[in-house]
Symmetry: C2
């Protein structure tokens, strides 16, 4: 575009978008035909001089969603706008809201929904509307938090989601991580636990989040792990946890021995699911989000714009476990 045209297109855009003039009027102001004005306007848009933004806590970024879906091979992607959000809590709230909306909009609604627990999921539960579905049974897919005063949030998340959908919640009566492998094996074979795990593995859909590998993790908070444990995991390449299991950048289990002591659905089952919805927001979770998406842990991702852009930019790497699911 020639410089003079560029300037004209800016003047035209000002008159069109800020003054609500018609292209014809602009034509007579700038002494141009109205077709020329139309072309200048088109140029202005194409060159990105005209920026249209939707500013609203519930606003989504449809073009980003599309790119995310395409570059990462997701069935669906929900990306909330970051515009004007300063703090991470707000971001998480918006994302949780979007996840709740998405869940409620699923047709057909899942009959059984497997969920993990954590701050994010709890937020999603709170944002769901009463009656968001008609009778959805909720099953926990990993061991609950129960070591300290926080006891009950895991349960309450599940119960809330189920109640609001007019269904039942089935809790997994087990700690998240056991100290000894034998205990873990024992509890897993207990009929009550086994039944829940069985139910969980047959769920129509899964909804889970992921935690960053830092000392603020709920697993540390709940007393299952210490800050030192986390540091060791990070040294071994951990970027975060998914349903209580720590993974590296490619989505592989970092510490198999720890993983064996962790009760819940395996990551393989999650990868094999028809519909698994990950809800991940915040800059601290970019790395885990990457691992989740790359390794095919979710078919649907609900996230914020910044995270989405991060994923899109860094995607080309590591196609491995994804390929097994057959994306050509």
């Amino acid at each position: 575009m020639i410089e003079s045209d560029e300037l004209l297109s800016i003047r035209a855009a000002e008159l069109y978008y800020e003054e609500d003039k018609t292209q014809d009027e602009i034509g007579s102001i700038l002494t141009l035909t109205r077709w020329k004005v139309g072309r200048l306007l088109a140029q202005a848009k194409a060159s990105g001089f005209v920026r249209i933004e939707i500013v609203h806590p519930r606003a989504r970024r449809l073009p980003v969603e599309r790119r995310l879906r395409e570059t990462c091979g997701l069935t669906d992607a929900i990306v909330v706008s970051t515009a004007g959000v300063d703090d991470q809590d707000e971001l998480q709230a918006r994302t949780a809201q979007a996840a709740a909306d998405y869940l409620a909009s699923l047709r057909p609604a899942p009959r059984t929904l497997g969920i993990s627990w954590g701050r994010t999921l709890d937020d999603v539960a709170r944002h769901l509307q009463d009656g968001w579905a008609g009778g959805v049974d909720v099953v926990q897919i990993n061991g609950g938090v129960s070591l300290n005063r926080r006891a009950g949030t895991a349960a309450s998340t599940a119960v809330t989601i189920a109640q609001k959908a007019g269904g039942h919640a089935t809790l997994l009566p087990s700690p998240a991580i056991l100290e000894r492998l034998e205990t873990k094996r024992a509890i897993e074979s207990d009929r009550a636990v086994a039944a829940v795990l069985d139910l969980a593995s047959g769920a129509d859909a899964y909804l889970f989040s992921a935690g960053a590998a830092d000392a603020g993790s709920v697993l540390v908070d709940s007393g299952y792990l210490t800050a030192d444990d986390i540091a060791a995991l990070v040294r071994a390449g951990a970027v975060g946890d998914v349903v209580g299991r720590y993974v590296d950048g490619s989505g592989a289990i970092v510490d198999p021995r720890l993983d064996e002591r962790t009760v819940g659905l395996s990551l393989e089952s999650l990868r094999a699911a028809q519909l698994s919805i990950a809800v991940i927001a915040g800059s601290a979770k970019h790395a885990v989000a990457s691992a989740v998406v790359r390794s095919g842990l979710c078919t649907v991702l609900v996230t914020d714009e910044d995270t989405a852009l991060h994923l899109i930019e860094n995607h080309p790497a590591v196609p491995d476990s994804k390929g097994q699911r057959g994306t050509e």
Copy 2:
């Protein structure tokens, strides 16, 4: 607007603006008639959820210009966009560019143009295009800088503007501020100086800027005033200088004794002019800009968006008792 409609209007706006869908298509996606969609879109715009911004160094803010013109009773106002500008130099450059454009667009072009000098004006001169007018004579309206190595910028500003318009520059052969009143009277009555002042007072148009009342002022830089002088002026209520004369928030001369020793057009002459263009940019100059506009020193203001908004917000408020009461 009801909550559900608000959300719908956001969804509609996303599809319309981000996905370029037609209102009809949106209608079938959201199961609404296309008229409803049109109304939702109108609501979204009206509620400010849709923000359209023109992002370009030469972009102006027409609606702000209008408000500025109306609330401050200006003949004309030029407001450059602040979008994405972090540093004040860039802001000043954009404003200077806009001033140059405005000057070049004046019809009829002034035959004689009175100008002040300073960093801003110099910037305007540099941004003017060669041949921006056909033969404009430029006259300095206040004493030049000549005490130190910066000597000549005042002259070069005038000469540049004149040259680019194919006209002559008439310099004011006098210091800006004299130490003794007698000297000032004497120099003023000198034929060469008097002739220039006379020419200046008869100019068709004036172009000037204003300085903030701080130690970074060109008057300090040039050695006419010391940082202490400025501090004293500020204590006396000064907010900045216009053509070398320090004014308070209401545009009144702060120190009449200093003012008497200042050579150049009086503020009254400037106020009486048919066309006087002030070019003022930057957050440091909000206060002077206010004084200039309130006291009718300019008929046209070229400024940046932030300054413009500041002026609009603080206009109705009477000049100020704040300055008089002193800021401790």
